[in-house]
Amino acid sequence: MSQQRIDVKKVADITIATSRDMKLNDDLVIQEWGDQLLALLDDHACRKLLVNFERVLFMSSSALRALITLNKKAKEVKATLLLCGIDDNIMEAFRITRLDNVFQIKKNEDEGVRSFTVVTDK
């Protein structure tokens, strides 16, 4: 039985998934977290997905890999994926790996929700 790794809520047609864990570096945690995010996109009603990292203080390259897989699936199902609430240190890992050019990243949840009205796929 897997543990719940995300809290999910809806704001209008936007699905917001907030990561529960402070550290995304354990293989099992990342597997469950990634699977639960991917499962959201199986729902046809989820075509605007905002992943909130406000509780996350550490993320390994394995978690970045899971996000790339999520991004790929979002494109396949024509969903828009946004990330928000990323800690400054983790953001540096995104910059170093240039994944800040792959993902649309917003400062916080409010900004993420607002930007869905003007966002276009990268």
């Binding site: 550490f58 390259s61 897989t69 240190n89 792959v102």
Partner: protein, 142 residues
């Protein structure tokens, strides 16, 4: 690296089976010492990231997660610098053969970021010729 002349305030030498849970406990122990040394949050994160990626490489890629193979670990720390040496019992690899994950061609490839992150977050890094021994140092910057 690891000059004899340098005065270290804390050190640890150990070896352990290829198990990420043990590795994570070890990382916690090292990070506790880094925190006690008053390093900045940014420097702490850099050390944590390099340790995480280096131990994942040693255990999963080097030793193939084989519990019969061990990881040999050394750490030296003072208020200004941390030195880490990690040796696995695998056949090694060529770190220069890993494609640059920031190359647009490889940007969406799901693997190959660990070594790149280690190189980016530490001050000095080197592998031995066969690639199964990694040494790195991180200077306190903030």
């Amino acid at each position: 690296m690891d000059s004899d002349a340098r005065l270290w305030s804390w050190s640890k030498d150990c070896s352990f089976p290829s198990d990420m849970k043990i590795a994570h406990d070890l990382i916690e122990e090292v990070m506790e010492q880094v925190k006690l040394g008053g390093w900045s949050n940014k420097d702490e994160f850099a050390v944590n990231m390099a340790l995480e990626e280096a131990l994942v490489n040693a255990i999963q890629h080097g030793n193939g997660s084989d519990p019969a193979k061990r990881v040999h670990f050394s750490c030296r720390l003072n208020s200004q610098r941390i030195y880490i040496r990690i040796e696995d019992e695998g056949s090694g690899f060529d770190p220069n053969a890993i494609p640059d994950p920031t190359d647009p061609e490889h940007l969406l490839v799901t693997s190959g970021r660990g070594v790149f992150l280690i190189k980016s977050f530490v001050s000095r890094v080197k592998w031995n010729e066969s690639g199964n021994v990694l040494e790195f140092e991180k200077d306190r910057e903030h």
